[in-house]
Amino acid sequence: MTGSAALALAAALALVATVAVVMRPRGASTVDFYLAGQRVGVATNAFAICGDYFSAASFLGVAAAVYATGLDGAWYAVGFAAGFVPVLLFVAAPLRRFGEFSIPDFLGRRLGSETVRLVAVGVVQLVILSYLVPQTVGSGITWELLVGEGVLGLDPYATGILASTAVVTVLVAFGGMRGTTWTQAVQFLLLLGALVWLAATVVAEGFHYGEAVESISSVPLDNPAGSTDGLTPEQSALHPGEPAVFGEPGARYGGLGQFALIVTLAMGTAGLPHVMNRYFTSPTGTAARTTTVWVLCLAGIFYSLAVMLGTAARDLIPAAVADRPWLAELTVDGVLRVPEHALPVLGRIFGEDAGLGVVAAGALVAVLSTIAGLLLAAAASWGHDVYERHINPRATQRQAVLAGRVTTLVTACAAAGLGLAMRPESFAAATPSIVATMVTWAFAVAGSALTPVFVLAIWWRRTTAAGAVAGMVAGLVVAVGMFTAGALTSGGLLREVLVTPTLLAAPVAVVTAVVVSRRTTPPADVERSWQTMHGTAADRRAERIARLMLAERRAARRWRRARR
């Protein structure tokens, strides 16, 4: 790594660490550690949700998927962005108004059942681990490309995973939700800044988006064929026997596969624990809803840039190989061996080592902020839902926070271990982007097991604890079963649907939850829950208090001025 690349990376990490230290929680209360005191404003929370959500899959993975499969890769971007539409319509405001610490906490209290809480903890932990592993893989890839050297006898990939996991674990354990909120907001701005810089640079260097799409769509789409040298043309899934083309759908998915992928990603967002936990930090339900609108707008900007840069990489890298010897070992006939290298390579082509440093810093920041959110969500569900409720119900606030900190450490070690066991090169032939694909697994489990039950608990009074447990288990079993079957099936329509199982698994979960709920008795206090979730009295009180405090502050300021 050269001095300029190291400087860019060090500056980004120093900024994040400073924010974490300055904004660390002042007290030892669990509301402060897990929920940042429930006083996070709309803009800050929107930036923090983006920092949480735009992971390595969004930063490296979307551009990689577009790079490898053209228009079909853009479905990841569409699905990731679409996810906040169901969140806005069905979840954000009622979830915040009901309050609590986590998804299991919400379900447990709404349905009055510790069994629901514990089953939800199990599902949430599975989602968190499925989401954490691709983040660690992303950090290994970035370190490998940026630094290229390992420490203590480890290879660069392993060093990247261990270093990033260790740094973020320390930041989360000491920063809690308050520190993490601000670091994630700053991390998102750094991430967006890196993307905007790269987009502006390639455009300034003469890249024409439309012409590039037309030019690379005039020839068949070729990609490296596994471990052997040379390129093989992708076959169109929409028109059998014809080669796939960059600018047209079909390089990876048929019609049903496109829809199944978008539904899987869109439904999964509402069940992602690290994203949903952020809504509990909003001051009111209305603020949570407005925050989601901001996130939708920011997601549109972010993903449209990522799709453009994936296209730019496909168009510009082949011509750059001749003048840049370092590209030879990363490419086969001008096409990258690992699609996730698309953005870092583009950064180095147009910004030399400093450019690589900026993009790599963006990628590491994306990884760190998402890992931070996931570790906090793990801490909230283990620390609050299991330790405080079942292991040590008389725990002091200090003991509960300590339990959360220990949980972050254990979860981080598990994710790092799994990340070390996975090598992206081994999956390059099987999937357009291993990082984006692995994140899809997390979305599938969340969208199949958690989202249906979550939405029913908010919008259907008759939902019962037994129905929720049955729905979660049915959704989980069908999703994991379909995944496993998909892994054993070779191409075709059947595989497309099996590997994006929410289209089938979510309806199964809904039907199961409804059938079982109809045969069991709903909680006695359902009307009170309805008042809390769908009424706005608490919002009005919070807004009234905020207005009074603001007026008081203004009056005090006027009084001080008058005295001077």
Binding site: G210, E211, V213, L238, E248, T286, V293, T536, A537
Partner: protein, 112 residues
């Protein structure tokens, strides 16, 4: 402290609001699903959708996937959030709310 703001909503008010919001959410969700499902249908049925060239050489399909859907999601989100908040504002908590400068007198006339 009675500052003139309703400290609770009646069950009837909440139920009416809940039903209205559910209609709003389901309505917008159907529009969202139709828009997302339309893309693969158009890809399969209209050659023009994938192979013709519009702005700067991009096909209508690429333009929609690269830009159009994000704009659509944002517009849908703004519209749904505005309508939901307006419904809550009109149907809940206005019966004893003090009249602010920016709230028109008589805005509670439409309460159920």
């Amino acid at each position: 402290m009675d500052d003139g703001v309703d400290t609770s909503d009646t069950p009837a008010e909440v139920d009416a609001t809940f039903r209205t919001l559910r209609r709003v959410a389901v309505g917008y969700f159907v529009v969202f699903l139709l828009a997302v499902a339309a893309f693969p249908v158009l890809s399969l049925t209209l050659d023009w959708w994938s192979s013709s060239r519009l702005v700067g050489g991009m096909s209508p399909g690429f333009l929609v996937a690269g830009f159009g859907l994000y704009v659509f999601f944002a517009v849908l989100g703004v519209a749904a959030a505005s309508l939901s908040s307006a419904v809550e504002h009109r149907m809940l908590g206005t019966s004893r709310e003090p009249v602010d400068d920016d709230v028109a007198p008589g805005s509670g006339e439409d309460l159920p």
